[in-house]
Symmetry: C2
């Protein structure tokens, strides 16, 4: 497994690899890896000849009051986990390599970023699309793999790829959960004491929503109400949002009857930690 720190160095390596006809898979991460990330790497290994994983905690996608400085980092541990998955290249640039002095170019997807986390985290998706486009141009992948846990991110990246005519196939990979149902996230490490137990309310509320839909409930308001109830009745929690959306446009569905596929998306503070989760409700 090779560790590469420079953009030009990565481009040179990838160009040589692609000349041999090999397909390149790419998994962008912010490190502090868990089974969710490793599932992406395994999918990439299955579908591609060479797999590049980037580890870069991207300052541009954190708000000024968010957790950039305390975001968990453990590069050595990450490398061991990636080595065990037969990752070919780890790309681990410094912030100054990604954003040198004078940097001033940004990519924005304007519509699908307006709802959900786009409301709570202004500038977040601009940071995501900008870094992902830069990483795509550095790693030049044939396919790139993203977790469905960050559903809005996945929709946004798909939109960017389509709108900018990038020749990259975007693959969404289902959420990986802890045995008790908590969606895997590097931020779960922030949960202390009873918070870990309270954090289960996100998945529990999703299961309740699915149950209601399975039993024939179609009313958006009623489904939103039961999800909110489950969370509000859990100690240490504060809802950031509980929303039903069109899974393509991410526009809110606030009342009326559910039809076809609907995204249920949640963001909940548990103690000081903001967690997200989601599921597709299908009728």
């Amino acid at each position: 497994m090779e560790i590469v720190r420079g953009i030009k160095e990565l481009q040179t390596k990838v160009t040589a690899i692609k000349k041999t006809g090999k397909k390149v898979g790419f998994v962008p991460t912010m490190g502090y890896l868990h089974e969710g990330h490793l599932t992406l790497v395994r999918e990439a290994k299955k579908e591609c000849d060479v797999v590049i994983v980037s580890i870069f905690v991207n300052p541009l996608q954190f708000g000024p009051k968010e957790d950039f400085s305390k975001y968990p980092r453990d590069f050595e541990r990450d490398c061991k986990m990636l080595e065990a998955e037969n990752t070919d290249i780890v790309f681990n640039p410094e912030p100054s390599e990604m954003y040198p002095e004078g940097f001033q170019t940004f990519v924005e997807v304007t519509e699908v970023t307006k709802t959900l986390c786009g409301t709570s985290r202004p500038g977040h998706f601009r940071g995501v699309t900008t870094v992902v486009l830069k990483l795509f141009n550095a790693a030049k992948p044939d396919k790139a793999f993203f977790g469905e846990k960050d559903f809005q991110q996945l929709v946004t990246i798909r939109r960017m790829v389509k709108d900018l005519n990038l020749s990259i196939e975007i693959i969404g990979v289902p959420i990986v959960r802890e045995p008790d149902g908590l969606a895997m996230s590097s931020r779960n490490t922030y949960l202390k004491g009873d918070e870990r137990k309270s954090a289960l309310c996100l998945y529990r509320s999703i299961l309740v929503a699915k149950e209601y839909v399975a039993k024939g409930e179609r009313n958006a308001k009623k489904i939103l109400a039961v999800v909110q109830d489950v969370i509000e009745n859990t100690p240490l929690t504060k809802i950031d949002y509980v929303k039903l959306c069109n899974p393509d446009t991410l526009e809110y569905i606030e009342d009326g009857e559910l039809k076809g596929k609907t995204l249920l998306a949640l963001a909940v503070f548990v103690g000081g930690t903001r967690l997200i989760d989601n599921a597709i409700l299908e009728v």
Copy 2:
């Protein structure tokens, strides 16, 4: 010479060409070609094996009150001129191919676009960078050629390419002028009667500025004043801007002494037609 209308079709063709080891040169234009464009094509032919010229009047870079609908178009004439230069591929997409329904991704270079035409034409450079990135991703060139007449555009594209880690060499090509000095532009066709003669004041004011510098004048205010004088003393003209700038950052130099290279940049309405011109003053 092949005419291609679809983005995917162009990508497929270019990918096949590049597999044979050939270098691809790209000249983006809005058509209604003149010697300025043809000089870009000739430079591209010199430096590359295959030359792609795009002809696309990009709605995104025109303001709501600007000349998008009346911008001159003559595709047949353009094709004859490009054929005569041994152009390999003409890319001529419909607006609906470039901006299909749901399109919502934009690229912005935030600093070098703040001055000069960025002030007079809000949103213009966002339209330019977005379309050029899309065209780059469609034509996948090794080198792309831009005229120095649109100096701020050239600086902006260079910045975008650097910031987004595109593996494309950007080549700036000097301004091509009519025998009497008027910088070539598709918009010169708008000039009627005495306006054509008045339009010469842009180049004339540049020559006067160069003469002053050659004679030892270094004072920014004095140089700006003589340029303004030349233009204001010409009938049918109205100054949009007359500026001295740092040629890298495009920051204004409003007083003090000129040092090294300074960009003199002009935008002047002649009748209803907005013309631009520029030169580097070197001391």
